[in-house]
Amino acid sequence: MATTGAKAKPETILGDLELICPAGTPAALRAAVDAGAEAVYLGFRDETNARNFPGLNFSPEELADGLEYAHARYCMVFVAINTFPRAGAPEAWHRAIDCAADLGVDAVILADIGILDYAARQHPDLRLHLSVQASASNAEAIRFYHEAFGVRRVVLPRVLTVEDIAELNSQIPVETEVFAFGGMCPMAEGRCLLSSYVTGKSPNITGVCSPASHVRYEERGSEMVSRLGDFTINIFQQSDAAGYPTLCKGRFVADGRASYLFEAPTSLNVLPLLPELMAAGVSALKIEGRQRGRAYTAQVVAAFRAAIDACRRGEPIPEMPQLADVTEGQRETSGAYRRAWR
């Protein structure tokens, strides 16, 4: 069992808010580390992680290099192994865990009970985080994962308000990590089969949602139609930028009326909520977007780094106009953190 890890930053305060940043590629990893991430998270280049997109993710060799780069700069590395193994073929998931443990990663992020059981038994010193895909939304569920497998941190599903999170944190013996910026699932994560219903590919099994292989854009007169599988997800005026047809971010008709029924194409942004989330006892903020490029990573991480540091000093959160350039559809939401969202 390797015990190397990120060096402790001299100024790190216990219980401080960590900034956890996506690394879809080695270049994005370096960008996130350089921009001030306390930890980066990444996945192997296969179906064991929930961002199994072409051209993304890490080989074991690239992970080893990334670990060296990050650890030398006081940054931790978490590896997401957070899909649900195919019945009868858990070997790829077991190998991923063994590899991550042997290379000395700082934590693995897991969702499947069988895989948590394997990791806890085979690698008792490996730090386990619970993926958002496990959909642990209450104290009893979190206590189960802690007591059964020694899980030390839970990534909370995007269904809870800040008040819910504060109450939850007072009841559980583990750290919580919450999504701070980026893509926004309106559905409880890990419990959504919409993508496989339409494309045959699902987040839980294949590690993808609304995959590009099933996306088509069709010109229809002056309009642009975005389709996923055999369904129209949205229709845009030609002049508009046609957005990516993520299934739950489309316009659909209920009772004769078209609307963004599930969720609009929008980005989660908790910057205005930072002081509240800190007061709620949250341990870490997670930036979504392993599928985004290094420029996105650098920009978002730098903005959140500055905001968290301002918060720590008790200063007001600075304006971050640059984030508007990287938000989906140039729109922002505080999502489920505010009760009004429901």
Binding site: S137, A141, F144, C192, V198, F252, L261
Partner: protein, 311 residues
């Protein structure tokens, strides 16, 4: 298990909990009729989708439970899928203390409360593989109702990898498939309302509300905070393959159509007492003009209908 008669059919037909917000008297009368007339072994009972609906059925649940028990049904009390507040959790804790009752856990929290007792793991808990199934079975799950998106290949592999031989595996074989759950209420949104002041508009749609694309194609169905398939799953033709794969419980989701007849049809098909073509034709008569799907079982898009002959 000892003294299990192998000659008698070991397959169990199960009626899942009503996912929709039916009027309380309608809900009660539905189950009274199931108790009196339906050839079904297991009946799941209780609110799974939205905690706000539970008070409506509460006054009737004891009478329904008793009637079903007297009719010889195996009654299992289903619990909430998405538990977000301490109040919701406390209610489940209070309900599950009664050791004489059997429960279905639809969240891992409830499974944890029930550890060491016989219980069912519902389809809203992610049990995708042998590692998870064996873990849950060792903690007292005697039946695991599997997620809808599993293919026949996966089910066959599951049948082979289960270490706890007695654990029963259940598959959803009829009805709109539950696809997603949210903190947000889509029924309320569709009516310009907020979840906190929803006026229980989900009660207007006893089978859910069909959502169409901008091209007027039926797409999905909403049921409060839940999203379902617009199509009805039907695995009549696949029952023999499911049985061969080791599946021994078959879940029908309640709809407003004649569920006694639907159950009779699946019973006949399970017992090989009716040809598939005839069973499918009869099902069309019972449920009317409803699109069917079986794609998941065939390893394809869940929305697709794959003709049995194509296999």
């Amino acid at each position: 298990m000892t003294n299990r008669k192998a000659a008698k059919s070991t397959t169990s037909l199960a009626l899942g909990p009503t996912l929709f917000h039916w009027d309380a008297e309608r809900w009660r009368d539905f189950y009274f009729r199931i108790a009196d007339e339906a050839d079904i072994e297991t009946v799941y009972l209780g609110e799974v989708v939205c905690a706000k609906r539970r008070p409506f059925i509460l006054p009737h649940i004891a009478a329904v439970h008793e009637r079903l028990k007297k009719a010889g049904k195996d009654v299992v009390l289903s619990t909430l899928a998405l538990i977000m507040t301490a109040e919701e959790m406390d209610e489940i804790k209070q309900t599950t203390v009664d050791a004489d009752l059997t429960f279905e856990a639809n969240d891992i929290s409830t499974a944890s409360l029930l550890a060491g007792r016989r219980h069912v793991i519902g389809p809203f808990v992610n049990a995708y593989n042998g590692g998870t199934i064996n873990y849950l079975a060792k903690r007292g799950a005697y039946r695991i109702s599997l997620p809808a998106e599993l293919s026949l290949d996966t089910l066959e592999a599951l049948g082979q990898t289960k270490a706890v031989k007695d654990v029963s595996l259940e598959v959803q074989v009829f009805g709109r498939l539950p696809l997603a759950i949210s903190a947000r209420c889509y029924h309320a949104r569709a009516h310009d309302l907020h979840k906190d002041g929803c006026q229980f508009v989900c009660g207007n749609d006893p089978d859910g509300l069909t959502i169409e694309t901008l091209d007027d194609e039926p797409f999905l169905a909403i049921n409060g905070t839940q999203t379902l398939s617009d199509t009805y799953c039907s695995l009549l033709a696949e029952l023999p393959a499911l049985k061969a794969a080791g599946i021994d419980s078959f879940r029908l989701w309640p709809h407003s159509c004649d569920m006694v007849q639907v159950a009779a049809l699946f019973r006949s098909a399970l017992d090989d007492a009716m040809a598939v073509e005839e069973a499918e034709a009869r099902l069309d008569e019972i449920i009317g003009d409803v699109p069917l799907a079986n794609g998941y079982l065939h390893g394809q898009e869940g929305r697709l209908w794959v003709e049995a002959a194509a296999e």
